[in-house]
């Protein structure tokens, strides 16, 4: 075992002598420099391993031959080893990243860097208060100097502000330390008992703690830090933001036992405030590095509040929370700062240049996802446990604020991501980079990717099948160079295998949703065979989404469910993002989805524990969910299902996604919210909540149907039209589940299945049309029935099924629906549903007429039928639709049985006849009669006019004149203008205005707060002092 003090010794000796070595040659000095940094990392690695695996007893290192408190001692425990392992890791790789700069810079820069790294090690290990001060100053001074590695006015003035602030802060720290010595007669942390301090002693402790605390950049005493982040070279700033911050954070952790509880709590809240406000302020930020700066101070705030609020938590939890946040922040932030240095674009709007380097873009995304605490990265687990813990401790407000802050953070991070992925690079500039800069980033991302496996395996013992979505993503990514079709076939095989694996584990409700997710997904997947070329980054995401959906069904306990929920969110977001103009739409989708996920997380946190060896869908039936839990989770599911009020992500996301993806989203992903509602429902059936919350959910569903239908009526873009139609249809399902009656649940399942069939069908047909005509605007089409007859038939059958006209299965759903509603006693609701169902005729007719009927446009004269890969899945859907229409038993009976597990059946099935308490329906007979009555006039007509006279286009009765052009003859644009008049003031997009208002207000608020940062160094000092004074006053009161 190498004594960790050798890190200090070696660094100092080489530090002192490095400039001498440099006289011999830069190569020598560089070799020594990197050698020492590697040595540091190596020492910490073996210590970390030793403390973790062999022996957990910390090593106490005395100096000067005396034991503490007479001499200064250092400590090497697991926590120190943990922090230093990562700090030295980043320090080494940041140095590698800076290789080219260091090669040219003055030798003093290397010396400063080496001593900085030594100072960080000392700072973390030392147990002496005054020694902390010394090491703090070592770190600070070397940092001050290194800030000017790129010597320009910005870095100079930022460094100067930093020095002023740092000087004042450390003065107060020193003042506090000296008075602590005065009151306790000791300087060693392990020998000071502040419990015996009087009021004066508390002032000393206050100043000391604040000295460290302000170094952690709490709002608003942190303007200097932001300037430093913005102005400093990326390599150095990564060290400042990551290595220094981690060390100082650990100092805070060390002195925490000395801090009286009321002050500690106050600091915790101050950290929280910092997190929330810096995330808010980040929203307005355009400069990449400053953006990361806001994120950094936010993360530090979060870390502080995490460490403060989890002091009483069991070790397992606090390690996961604090360690998770810390590692996440360290690695992700360092990597992102390095990327800013590689990209060399100040404005985030210019980051489209990243598109020239796909690997870098992927690394960027990876790090950003990690920073956003999305799974599987460490921050995800930390956030999960943190929220649970806060709720358990009845600190609901804190939990909510943490989530609000996180949401804002995700907003600004992903706005950046979307810009990088989607913004066109107009200047066609290239990224100049080198391996010494890329490798550290890649390595970091690699480490970040490994940690989750450790967490899942050792902390949670989660079945690694829940990593399958990620593994699928990675595997497909690796084989990205093979042609698209082969990847598609491989994906299908994977789905098949996965389904085969899943099948024995499933029953009842699970099986039903598995059919929708996996079989439905597989069928729609066929349509993607039409894609040409390599088609990169597609199948991985697709598989990830479908597998995570499948995993939802076998998730045990809340965490596994939530994990897959987040996987699903991420993968679907990335799929959306692939669309050509999907920058804004996917962003809105992500924000709403994440907000929904957070609501879900809160909801789970409030819920009582479930048994961990049973699938959540089953174990949840045994517990009573508290009301707040139900409300929060329902809100989450409402967002996911695009219900009224939170539906605004739906149209854009659907419309801008790639066309086959839209089919997948509409057919499959839209059901996941329904699955969520079923989770709630099966619990609520056996344990009725105190307030009938489901009644209101039902109303939301009902209103979604009508408003979705009306919104669909006025769309010109057919995908938007269908998106709103989906919102409307999902509204039916939500309302049906909310009834919590047998018939209601059967209806919901029936509708879900039906929705998969007809929406998959229509969207695929539409995808074919768009593929051929290259437009989504319906009024630009027309008359395509002659060119694309099969697509027309698909749409025709689809819309008959949607509208509920007999004899197709759509009527079955309508029959079940009204029976269920009237039986339940929701009369007015069923009236509204009827209205919605009538309105749906308007948009359905508009869709089919504007696209397929009427006048063919000249530019579409040579359009061909859709490619076979689009047609094939359509045929499968048509066959399925016809089968369950003719033999409704095939579906009603199993559904009846599934729901029968939870609630007694209220319908009688006799042959093909279904009888409810209100009426009856014989699907088979209806089909036969309809066929019959259809044949009668058809035969009659054939008999009377066997031969018709074929006429050309425009040969129509048009007041004896020929119309000018198909554009003017084809009545399609703004088809229901008169209905707009009818609605009058009711037709205004109020909800959209509301959300726009929310966005604007949030941004204005962020802008307001950041006015604190005037850029004047003097003002920053004033902030610091005022901050102390105000905190002191709050504490005194």
């Amino acid at each position: 075992m190498v004594n960790p003090i050798y890190i200090i010794i070696l660094s100092l000796i080489t530090g002192f002598l490095l400039s001498i070595f440099d006289k011999i040659g830069r190569k020598l000095s560089m070799t020594i420099f990197y050698g020492v940094l590697s040595f540091n990392l190596f020492v910490m690695a073996i210590w970390f391993y030793r403390l973790l695996v062999v022996d957990v007893t910390p090593l106490l290192i005395n100096t000067a031959g005396f034991v503490a408190p007479i001499s200064i001692n250092l400590r090497m425990g697991l926590q120190e080893a943990f922090i230093l392992l990562f700090s030295n890791f980043i320090a080494l790789f940041a140095a590698i990243y800076l290789f080219k700069k260091f090669k040219k810079a003055k030798i003093s820069s290397l010396v400063l860097y080496l001593i900085l790294s030594m100072g960080v090690n000392g700072l973390v290990m030392t147990r002496d208060l005054f020694n902390i001060f010394v090491f703090l100053e070592i770190v600070s001074i070397s940092t001050f100097a290194l800030i000017t590695l790129e010597k320009n006015l910005k870095s100079l003035s930022a460094g100067f502000k930093y020095m002023l602030a740092g000087g004042v802060v450390s003065t107060f720290f020193l003042l506090g330390v000296i008075f602590v010595y005065y009151f306790s007669g000791n300087l060693n942390l392990d020998f000071i008992n502040t419990g015996t301090f009087n009021n004066l002693g508390m002032i000393a402790v206050f100043m000391m703690s604040l000295g460290i605390f302000i170094e952690l950049k709490p709002f608003p005493a942190n303007g200097w830090a932001l300037d430093v982040y913005e102005a400093t070279d990326s390599g150095i700033v990564s060290v400042i933001a990551v290595v220094n911050s981690a060390a100082i954070f650990y100092v805070f952790y060390k002195i925490m036992p000395m801090i009286p509880n009321n002050l500690l709590q106050l600091l915790g809240y101050a950290g929280l405030l910092t997190f929330v406000l810096s995330s808010l302020m980040g929203l307005k930020q355009e400069n990449a590095k400053r953006l990361l700066g806001y994120s950094s101070i936010g993360q530090m705030g979060l870390l502080i509040s995490a460490v403060v609020f989890t002091t009483n938590a069991p070790e397992f939890i606090s390690i996961l929370i604090v360690g998770g946040f810390l590692v996440n922040h360290l690695l992700a932030k360092a990597g992102l700062f390095w990327i800013t240095g590689i990209v060399k674009k100040e404005k985030i709007a210019d980051w489209g240049v990243l598109n020239h380097s796909k690997p870098l873009l992927i690394l960027f995304g990876l790090l950003l996802f990690a920073l956003a605490s999305l799974p599987p990265f460490p921050g995800f687990w930390a956030k999960w446990e943190f929220i649970r813990w806060l709720i358990m401790e009845k600190m609901t407000v804190v939990a909510v604020l943490v989530l609000i802050g996180s949401l804002c953070e995700i907003a600004f991070l992903f706005r950046w991501f979307n810009l990088a992925v989607k913004k066109e690079d107009l200047q066609e500039s290239q990224i100049e980079t080198s391996h010494s800069m890329n490798l550290p980033v890649a390595f970091l991302a690699g480490v970040l990717a490994v940690i989750p496996v450790i967490i899942m395996k050792y902390f949670y013992q989660i079945d690694l099948i829940h990593l399958a979505p990620v593994i699928a993503l990675i595997v497909i990514f690796i084989i990205e160079i093979i042609p698209s079709k082969i990847k598609g076939i491989l994906s299908l095989i994977t789905l098949g295998t996965y389904g085969y694996y899943l099948y024995p584990l499933l029953s009842g409700l699970q099986l039903f949703f598995a059919v929708i997710f996996i079989i439905g997904g597989g069928i729609i997947l066929i349509s993607t065979f039409n894609r040409k070329g390599l088609n990169q980054n597609f199948y991985g995401l697709l598989l990830m989404m479908i597998l995570s959906l499948g995993n939802l069904l076998i998730a045990k306990g809340y965490l596994e469910f939530f994990l897959n929920w987040e996987f699903m969110t991420i993968s679907s977001y990335l799929l959306f993002l692939r669309g050509k103009n999907a920058r804004n739409s996917s962003f809105v989708y992500l924000i709403f989805s994440i907000a929904g996920a957070y609501l879900l997380m809160l909801g789970f946190a409030f819920a009582p524990a479930v048994s961990s060896d049973m699938v959540l869908l089953k174990s949840i039936t045994q517990i009573q969910l508290p009301l707040v839990s139900i409300i929060l989770m329902s809100l989450g599911f409402l967002i996911k299902s695009g219900s009224l009020g939170v539906h605004i992500w739906v149209p854009d996301a659907y419309a801008e996604a790639e066309d086959d993806v839209t089919a997948l989203i509409a057919g499959i992903l839209s059901k996941v919210g329904i699955l969520g509602f079923f989770v709630l429902a099966v619990s609520a059936i056996s344990h009725k909540p105190d307030i009938d919350i489901f009644y209101w959910i039902g109303w939301i569903g009902v209103l979604s149907t009508i408003i979705g239908a009306f919104l669909a009526v006025f769309q010109e873009d057919m995908k938007r039209l269908l998106a709103y139609s989906s919102m409307s249809q999902i509204g039916y399902i939500v309302a049906s589940v909310a009834m919590l009656s047998h018939l209601g649940l059967v209806t919901a399942l029936y509708l879900s299945f039906n929705h998969l069939l007809f929406k998959g069908l229509i969207f695929l047909a539409i995808a074919g049309v768009i593929y051929r005509t290259k437009t989504r605007n319906m009024y630009e089409m027309g008359g395509l029935i002659k060119k694309m007859p099969i697509s027309y038939i698909s749409v025709l059958i689809g819309i008959i099924a949607v509208s509920g006209v007999p004899p197709l299965s759509g009527f079955g759903s309508k029959w079940l629906l009204y029976s269920a509603f009237i039986e339940k006693g929701w009369y007015l609701q069923s009236g509204v549903l009827f209205f919605a169902s009538a309105v749906s005729f308007l948009y359905l007719y508009r869709l089919i007429h504007s696209v397929f009927l009427g006048q063919l446009k000249y530019e579409h004269q040579n359009v061909k039928e859709a490619p076979i890969w689009f047609i094939l899945p359509q045929l499968i859907f048509i066959i399925a639709l016809m089968t369950i229409s003719t033999f409704p038993n095939l579906i009603i009976q199993p559904l009846n049985a599934i729901v029968g597990n939870y609630i007694d059946s209220s319908i009688v099935i006799d042959g093909y006849k279904v009888t409810s308490s209100l009426g009856y329906w014989n699907g088979n007979q209806v089909m036969m009669v309809t066929m019959g009555v259809f044949m009668v006039p058809l035969l009659l007509l054939l008999l009377l006019i066997g031969k018709t006279q074929k006429v050309k286009q425009f040969n129509i009765v048009f007041a004896a004149e020929r119309p000018e052009s198909p554009q003017t003859t084809h009545v399609a644009h703004n088809m229901y203008a008169h209905y707009k008049k009818v609605l009058g003031g009711w037709g205004k997009p109020r909800i959209l205005s509301f959300w726009n208002g929310v966005a604007e207000w949030t941004h204005s608020l962020g802008n307001l707060f950041r006015q604190f940062y005037t850029g004047n160094g003097q003002t920053y000092i004033l902030h610091i002092i005022l901050y102390m004074v105000v905190l002191y006053i709050i504490l005194g009161v």
Binding site: V134, I141, F160, L174, L175, F179, D227, A231, K284, N1016
Partner: protein, 117 residues
């Protein structure tokens, strides 16, 4: 000797006030130095014990009874470190100012706020 403590605090406040109100960079650094000096005075005063001598065991102190005759040596040791550190920081600050002055020919702190928000 409590006077030195009071003086120390006065210097501290004075230094801070100067940092907060002076516009000139050099003067701000001077304020910082004054503040630093104040702290040093405070540190030294802390270790003082009435009617005792410096902690140097020479002829003036009885070796056997040294502990009851000398003042606390620790603050004296600490202040040395603090002074050196203060010096180092001041030196770096001044060289920053030199460089900044070279860029803009201005010593007013208000001229260095292009980074903000």
């Amino acid at each position: 000797m409590i006077f030195s403590l009071i003086l120390g605090f006065i210097l501290l406040i004075l230094g801070i006030s100067m940092m907060l109100t002076r516009n000139n960079l050099i003067k701000i650094v001077i304020g910082f130095s004054i503040m630093d000096t104040g702290i040093h005075l405070i540190i030294v005063s802390i270790g003082y014990i009435r009617n005792r001598t410096a902690p140097i065991i020479d002829a003036a102190v009885n070796i056997k009874d040294a502990t009851s005759q000398v003042v606390d040596p620790i603050p004296s040791a600490l202040v040395l470190t603090a002074i050196v550190i203060g010096l180092a920081v001041t030196a770096v600050m001044l060289s920053f100012i030199v460089e900044m002055y070279k860029k803009t020919k201005s010593l007013s702190i208000d001229d260095y706020q292009e980074l903000k928000w």
